[in-house]
Subunit: 306 residues, 2 copies
Amino acid sequence: MSGSKCTRLSGPLVKQVLDSVDSILFDCDGVIWRGDQAIPGAAQVIHLLKESGKKVLFLTNNSSKTRKMYADKMSRLGFNVREDEVFGTAYCSAMYLKTVCKLEGKVYLLGSNAMREEMEAVGIQQIGVGPDHISGGPSDWANVPLDPEVKAVVVGFDEHFSYMKLNRAMQYLTQQDCLFVGTNRDTRLPLEGGKAVPGTGCLLLAVEAAAQRQAQTVGKPNRFMFECLASKFGVDYKRCLMVGDRLDTDILLGSNCGLKTLLTLTGVSTVADAEAHLKSGCVERQGMVPDYYMESIADLLPALQG
Amino acid sequence: MSGSKCTRLSGPLVKQVLDSVDSILFDCDGVIWRGDQAIPGAAQVIHLLKESGKKVLFLTNNSSKTRKMYADKMSRLGFNVREDEVFGTAYCSAMYLKTVCKLEGKVYLLGSNAMREEMEAVGIQQIGVGPDHISGGPSDWANVPLDPEVKAVVVGFDEHFSYMKLNRAMQYLTQQDCLFVGTNRDTRLPLEGGKAVPGTGCLLLAVEAAAQRQAQTVGKPNRFMFECLASKFGVDYKRCLMVGDRLDTDILLGSNCGLKTLLTLTGVSTVADAEAHLKSGCVERQGMVPDYYMESIADLLPALQG
């Protein structure tokens, strides 16, 4: 195999790379689906990889679904994937608060019902899910009643995000012993047809600016998500391939964990983006250069069918 | 007068500095009031400066009030100030869109009724003020109906800021010919008692991250606000003092316009902040070093009464 980075993965090299790994990790949005449409051929690729004996796992920064909801979506789109094979930031954030932070206290949660459910499943109490409309004036907002049991602010995807929630998060975070955790920093959620909507990263930037503090983020490129699944499924990082569409999350996670990395071009990042990192000469940017790239994971099919 | 920067303004130097200027510009929040409480002595200082023949003008990045609302608040807190002596970003943004951008089309406005009124006063149509609650899912949000007449997104202080508004702004800004203007970048609005609430800068960061574009901001430290008032009142920048509590807005504006600058310590920035800029050796940070500082504008009183 070539020692050079950012190589097009095609021809006999595909089989060589697949033979060199036992586990393959897939990002979801932009890799196996876009919005509610599966990437053509993706379901078959997953099926054949599993049939050939590979461990196939999924890790997504999207915090809007529980593991159960992901399994249901997978099934609806024709993927044969079990609930425990999907690691989303709703589940991983709950695990992070419990196992790393060893949180004792409630969470003020800017997030979804899915995040609430995953927290409740590990015994973490939370408040804040749902609409929080504004009333009164600045002086009322600054003196908004705070729950003394809240010991962490967690920011995930929240379609009910509002000025009042931003303010409440800021008031909690003014207490220096209040933990500050974000699910991820993706600023856009890519959808079918090249469309997109604002991602959690936008909300997190607003809260960080108001609080004048930086959040610890759980999602890719933080190693935590890989460690979660590696310990559960006995994944050997030396024989593992990470497949993703974003250089700053998926590929950087792979680099951070010593995995082989494959960029697919059905999502956010381009080969030009990767080459710009490669040629920058900047050490910090080399982690965002994938080992390989291909148009779509469907390009793995010939090697799997051969 | 000393040629050195960041000098405590006291004793005979106060009168020397006042004698060297004809116009004095005051920031509002953190300088003449905090929230709904006047800084003690501030009203008397303004009164005596006017009586001594100085032009006294006010410029604030706060976009939540019309000039009329500022004059009313001034009067309520005991200041003798006319409507046309106050330059807020609600008014200045409307002027900026009309005179600099020469906008032809509607504005999608994340802002207050005050901003709506100032825009309407100069004949600019806008949509978007008030609540905009969420419904549907990501695919609905990405395909939200857009008004084809909208040619600019303007972000000011908006207590009804929500995910849906963030999304709508992003969808408009995906059109490359859509202008993108922010009132200001202050991330906190300081209130009485050391309290604060999130400022417009937090909202602007979220919209910029979603849109993957930078807004042009109208407020301090942009020269535009000074040019607005200088042309209207015939202010000579060489004989003008800018008084403010923030180094990155008030003092930098003064430096950008060649004004003398005075930091007061009743608001956001500290002398230590100023000295850190001074000692950094960084050229870009020297503009944030004030010529003078004093605890409060009330410290001007002895020289005015003497």
